[in-house]
């Protein structure tokens, strides 16, 4: 039974339930306590030991049900009683086995054949047919087909009927084997495709993501934003080692007759940073705008003090939309309100300064998401300079590659002088790397 549990743990890992060796040991201990007799008890006990989040618990439930689905087959119609001589299946041919109608032995033969054929190593759903065939071969399908052919060829009475019966049972066996492999695929391979796709999507250019991948992308962005937020919300106070807070130490030592028992060290309070994000949603970045907004939306969910603006020819504050609407609606509404018009960076910066100027201070980090293509309008570099002077940091993320900066109507070369960091940001992976740098380096500490 130990092998069954190990197999199950492997299936769990394939389904993205992280099971460490220590947890595997716990699982074995849990099983030692509850046994395999009571299925619900076993499920609940293993779930408590192995699944560590609500999502993992849901995946665990599905995986458990699929994995132990074979129990009824293995038990067979005769209640799992092992037939005499079942230990050595070798001599009995597949044909005899099928004709005997012994469900238990058949299921066992199937599982053994599957183990020999390596069915558990399936990692892509498309391997199913190949593996089904292999399992059947391992079970001795060839011999059985030869047997059918022999029966068909012979003239003895009854052989024709026997051949037909065998062929009928063979169909049933195909079905059974296919079901078995499907289950294996669901256990071990159902997540592979998704993982591959996620990996690809993270590397794909934001402008080239197909609409049908938008959902998957949304999940990725969300996870990324959450990861970043949990890292950066970590510390608010930090002890400055070695600096004595004399005033508070004296105050505390009053209780002990002035003997400084309780020594207080100076600590630094880490200011909660403020972020202002300006997101370009004009025609020239239309393709990337959705993702920039998506990122903005996710960031807004996890960062407490975020001022979000979207602009094309004018700039509007979109905090209310991000707060109140669902993600799809928010993006659509923002695009409807301000999107797809020709950009005017000078105008947008002027609007930003009007709305924000007094609130930009040494704690504020300004992030601009846009291509800096201003349609030859006045770029208002003076405003950019002023923002750069007042803010803690200005970070510019441009979906265009660096070689395009400054070409045509791009003012990126001019703007980047006032930025602490200007980077190309074209894929999710780049976006994550940059935002992480931003949070680590430019946020107030």
């Amino acid at each position: 039974m130990q092998r069954t549990l190990e197999e199950f743990l492997r299936a769990l890992r394939a389904n993205e339930v992280a099971v460490s060796p220590a947890e595997a040991i716990d699982a074995h201990r849990a099983v030692a306590h509850v046994g395999y007799g009571d299925r619900t008890l076993l499920k609940d006990a293993l779930c408590a030991t192995l699944a560590k989040t609500a999502e993992e618990a849901a995946r665990f439930d599905a995986c458990f049900d699929t994995f132990f689905d074979r129990a009824p087959i293995a038990a067979g119609e005769d209640g799992g009683r092992a037939p005499p001589g079942a230990t050595g299946l070798g001599p009995a041919s597949l044909g005899d086995l099928l004709l005997s109608g012994d469900g238990t032995s058949l299921a066992r033969a199937l599982e053994e054949a599957a183990a020999r054929a390596g069915a558990g190593d399936i990692w892509l759903p498309s391997q199913r047919n190949l593996l089904t065939r292999r399992v059947l071969d391992e079970m001795g399908l060839r011999e059985m087909e030869a047997q059918i052919n022999r029966l068909l060829a012979s003239d003895a009475p009854g052989d024709g009927a026997a051949a037909a019966e065998l062929a009928r049972r063979r169909e049933a066996l195909f079905e059974l084997a296919a079901q078995f492999i499907d289950r294996q695929a669901q256990l071990y391979a159902s997540q592979t495709g998704r993982r591959l796709r996620d990996g690809l999507l993270a590397k794909q250019k934001l402008t080239a993501v197909a609409p049908e991948d938008f959902r998957a992308m949304e999940g990725l962005v969300r996870r990324m934003a959450k990861r970043l937020a949990s890292r950066y919300a970590r510390k608010r106070h930090r002890a400055r080692r070695g600096k004595l807070d004399v005033r508070r130490t004296i105050r505390r030592s009053m209780g002990y007759g002035g003997v400084p028992f309780d020594v207080v060290w100076k600590t630094e309070t880490i200011e909660k940073p403020k972020i202002a994000v300006l997101c370009d949603v004009s025609r020239s970045v239309a393709a990337a705008a959705q993702f920039l907004l998506l990122f903005l939306y996710s960031l807004n969910e996890v960062v407490e003090r975020l001022d979000a603006y979207a602009f094309s020819d004018r700039l509007v504050c979109v905090n209310d939309l991000l707060d109140d609407e669902k993600v799809d609606d928010a993006i659509t509404l923002i695009l409807k309100r301000i999107g797809f018009r020709p950009t005017d960076y000078g105008r947008a910066l002027a609007d930003f300064c009007d709305a924000q100027r007094d609130r930009i201070d040494r704690r504020t980090t300004v992030i601009v998401l846009g291509d800096a293509r201003s349609n030859y309008a006045n770029p208002r570099l003076d405003l950019m300079r002023r923002i750069g002077q007042r803010a803690r940091a200005v970070i510019w993320l441009n979906p265009e590659p660096e070689t395009y900066w400054g070409q045509g109507d791009s003012k990126m070369d001019a703007y980047r002088r006032f930025c602490n960091l200007a980077k190309t940001c074209n894929t999710l992976r780049q976006l994550e790397a940059i935002i992480e740098t931003v949070l680590r380096t430019y946020m107030p500490r």
Binding site: A30, A54, K235
Partner: protein, 328 residues
Amino acid sequence: MTRDAKAALQAGAAHPLTSVETIVEGLGKVGYIASRRIATALFMAAHLEKPVLVEGVAGVGKTELALSAAAMLGLPLIRLQCYEGLDESKALYEWKYGKQLLYTQILKDHMGAQLTGAPDMATAMERLQETGDLFFSEPFLEPRPLLKALREEGGAVLLIDEIDKSDEAFEAFLLEMLSAFQVSIPEIGVIRAKTPPVVFLTSNNVRDLGDALKRRCLHLHIPLPDQKLEERIVASRVPGIEARLRSELVGFVQSLRTLDLRKLPSISETVDWARALVLLHVRALDGDLVRETLNVLLKFEQDVVAVEPRIGEFLAGAAEAAGRGAPA
């Protein structure tokens, strides 16, 4: 498992921890209606001697589970409320400074008497060594919740509430305590629990907990209950309520949960509402009444606004379901 429990198991008596069924029953007796999954988690916690990390939305009965488990097992409940900035001097131990000061005073007088007549410095130092150092010793230790739980002879139920509100440093500090049921005090050494306490940690998922902590715990997620379970919970918590009204109000709350609200009403809100309705001597729900008492269920103005126009529809549904369930 507590020592009493072990003894009871050996004696074959029906101790609450004997099986999952007895736990469900035992918790039921102290007024906590537990699903099988909850009971199994408690069962595994007692038998594997591992802490349980309980997650779920606010008001779903996480803290209550620990309270009820303590009541069921007849063990003292020791509670540690976590918050940002909680450190070991508040969670584990503190020195009794005042007494230590007194001790040094006494020691000084005492040593004076002892040391007079010592012929030279070396002898004096020798005598000083012999006296023993009591300055950092257990009598001067002021135990805080964690240490208290470890020192309970007969075992205890330790509730570490809202662990997600504490700092990561504190979480790391808890690891030793949770895996080995021991703590290291630099001045004294390692203090180990004679009887490992039953530990519950609760979390509202304000931040993601570290993997190291999760790995050491059994995980229990308490979901919002279905109609039947919630009715039983209300029946157990608000005994004076009529069956018809009970299923009506639970049905109403259940339909609220299908909406996309900022804060879904959880069990504690349902129970509060049921209590309020009993106090108001209500026999059946009607639109005005619900509108007036909606603030018990919903904690945000936007949610109230979103729900108000649909009250009638939900009430009709709930009344119909209640009528079908128990024809009055």
